[in-house]
């Protein structure tokens, strides 16, 4: 045990630099977001009234708290634009996650049943698109989906449609883009649980008289639920705040909360409201993040 003590000392100090970095560039910025979401909108540079000045000590802090304004949040609640983008984010994230599960599960299942030496190759095939630029992959779809793009050409040639279908700037295109981009995030955790599953359980089920289909629903599927949960959350959480995909592929009708934040910030230059939208988005993410954390912990606990 004494050797472990010797280990611990220098290893512990290794964390100091990254720790400080994360506090400075991850934690502290959130404090600023909170602070600015509670400050008044002003048309100036920087476009908000500072409400905090630590150099003036305790009285300044007290004065600052007295000045805090919840106007931005009141605006978020009263304006239907924010409520609807909030709701749309949830609807889009839930729908996409369900589609991803439906498409990702059979693929992960097929991968887990491949002969042992092909499995790493299949995994590589799934990971490579995840490495390939996400913006470029969305752009590739614009090529295909545009009015005189490949999809319409194929459909016309096969006489499936009589005139070009509008794909671009529709919700269909957006869901397609989201499913395409997040598919690896769904497949990998599913594959991880499915490939670790003990096949003797299935043999036992077969010996006891269950058909392959019954065995799947009674044995495989329930055992893969942790992977389903991890995959679903891994997709759901970032999709909620998605900006690039809906901006490029969806119509201009209704926006997701990430787009609203972007619009407030870059177009309306209303930083306090943008900050308030960020806080609201964060609040939306806390429950799934906590859930994901618990799932991860349980999985790590199982591994030990």
């Amino acid at each position: 045990m004494s050797t472990r003590r010797i280990f611990a000392q220098p290893a512990r100090y290794a964390a100091i630099a990254p720790y400080l970095w994360m506090v400075l560039f991850f934690l502290v910025p959130f404090v600023f977001v909170l602070k600015i979401s509670l400050s008044q909108t002003a048309i100036a540079q920087p476009p908000y009234v500072p409400v905090f000045d630590l150099s003036e000590g305790w009285s300044a802090i007290k004065a600052a708290f007295a000045q805090l304004s919840f106007d931005n949040f009141r605006l978020l609640i009263s304006d239907s634009l924010y409520i609807s983008s909030y709701l749309r984010s949830v609807v889009v994230a839930v729908t996409s996650t369900l589609i991803l599960l439906l498409i990702g599960y059979p693929i992960a299942y097929g991968m887990a049943r491949l002969p042992q030496r092909w499995q790493p190759i299949a995994m590589m095939l799934v990971i490579v698109p995840f490495w390939t630029s996400f913006l470029i992959r969305i752009y590739a779809w614009i090529n295909i989906l545009q009015h005189d793009g490949l999809l319409n050409k194929v459909l016309l040639a096969l006489h499936l449609v009589s005139s070009p279908v509008v794909w671009l700037s529709t919700d269909t295109a957006m869901y397609l883009g989201i499913v395409y981009s997040y598919l690896p995030f769904m497949i990998l955790p599913l594959y991880a649980t499915l490939s670790k599953m003990d096949s003797s359980l299935l043999e036992a089920a077969a010996d006891l008289g269950s058909s392959p289909r019954q065995a799947f629903w009674l044995v495989t599927f329930p055992l893969s639920l942790p992977g389903v949960g991890a995959g679903a959350l891994l997709c759901f959480i970032p999709i909620i705040g998605e900006f690039v995909i809906p901006d490029l592929l969806a119509g201009s009708g209704s926006m997701m909360i990430g787009q609203t934040l972007w619009l407030e910030f870059f177009t309306n230059k209303d930083w306090p409201v943008a900050a308030a939208a960020a806080v609201a988005l964060l609040a939306l993410l806390v429950p799934p993040l906590l859930l994901y954390d618990r799932l991860q912990r349980r999985r790590l606990g199982d591994a030990k």
Partner: protein
């Protein structure tokens, strides 16, 4: 009787084939059309390198590409250093004060929407009165990508046999020497893979870069993004193909690195 349970069914094979086709077809189409001679993106006019030439004559795009490569290289290097240190601290260090907070901070950016990370960093830079440009984007990318590096290095380090280091120390190494001479060479492939992942992620990011960059220092994705919003241009196909080729080379190197690491008897990290 029991043998059929693990066989591939036609359904499995169809799912796999469709899945792979879905993932790769759009990219393949993009690459093919980048060699299209026609000005119209959708009309095939024969093979040509015209749009590549166009890109190499486009000053603004080249500047953006150079900016992206610099940001990617510098941020990936800092992120790899910090991420490796973080992984060592988390795996080899005993419990220390704020360990939960630390690992929480390292996991959060992996799933946090980029608009939040971008906006919050920008507000910090404004409060610090930092001039926005190369360094602010680099710091932002470092913050995001070091979390990915930590995950990659951490999983490799956790699967490593501790007794190797203990043996080195029994033979007279101090802990730092044992780490540098025994552990570091063993986790080097994971560190290399982490660097490449960080570089790729930085090369890909639009949202965080848009928030943290200043006027006149756009990265390549920012430029591509603003072009794409205006409509499809064949030149963009060529640029995208170059980026894909660059990333493909990096992936080959990374997979060779992880092969090397599994050849050394340990299972490789999943990324």
């Amino acid at each position: 009787m029991a043998r059929h349970v693990n066989r591939l069914s036609p359904f499995n094979i169809t799912a796999l084939a469709l899945g792979v086709a879905f993932l790769y077809l759009p990219i393949v189409i993009l690459v093919i059309y980048s060699f299209n001679a026609s000005r119209l993106v959708t009309v095939w006019g024969g093979w040509s390198l015209r749009w590549y030439q166009e890109f190499f004559n486009d000053r603004a795009m080249l500047d953006a590409a150079w900016m992206s490569l610099r940001v990617g290289a510098v941020s990936a290097t800092i992120a790899t250093l910090l991420g490796t240190l973080a992984a060592v601290g988390l795996v080899r260090g005993e419990r220390f004060r704020g360990r939960t907070l630390f690992s929480g901070m390292l996991y959060a950016p992996l799933v946090m929407p980029e608009v939040i990370t971008g906006l919050s960093l920008l507000l910090l830079f404004v409060a610090l009165n930092a001039e926005r440009g190369f360094w602010t984007v680099t710091i932002a990318h470092t913050t995001l990508t070091m979390c990915f590096v930590t995950v990659v290095v951490q999983s490799r380090l956790a699967s490593l046999d501790r007794s190797l280091e203990e043996a080195a120390m029994d033979l007279g190494c101090d802990p730092v020497q044992a780490f540098v001479r025994v552990t570091l060479p063993l986790i080097l492939p994971a560190i290399a893979a982490g660097w490449m992942l960080a570089f790729t992620l930085s090369l890909d990011d639009v949202v965080i870069a848009s928030f943290t960059t200043g006027p006149g220092s756009a990265t390549l994705p920012i430029r591509i993004y603003s072009e794409v919003r205006l409509g499809v241009k064949p030149e963009i196909n060529a640029i995208c193909t170059i980026v894909i080729a660059l990333i493909a080379v990096l992936i080959v190197i990374a997979s060779l690195a992880s092969k090397l690491s599994s050849a050394r008897g340990e299972s490789a990290a999943p990324l």
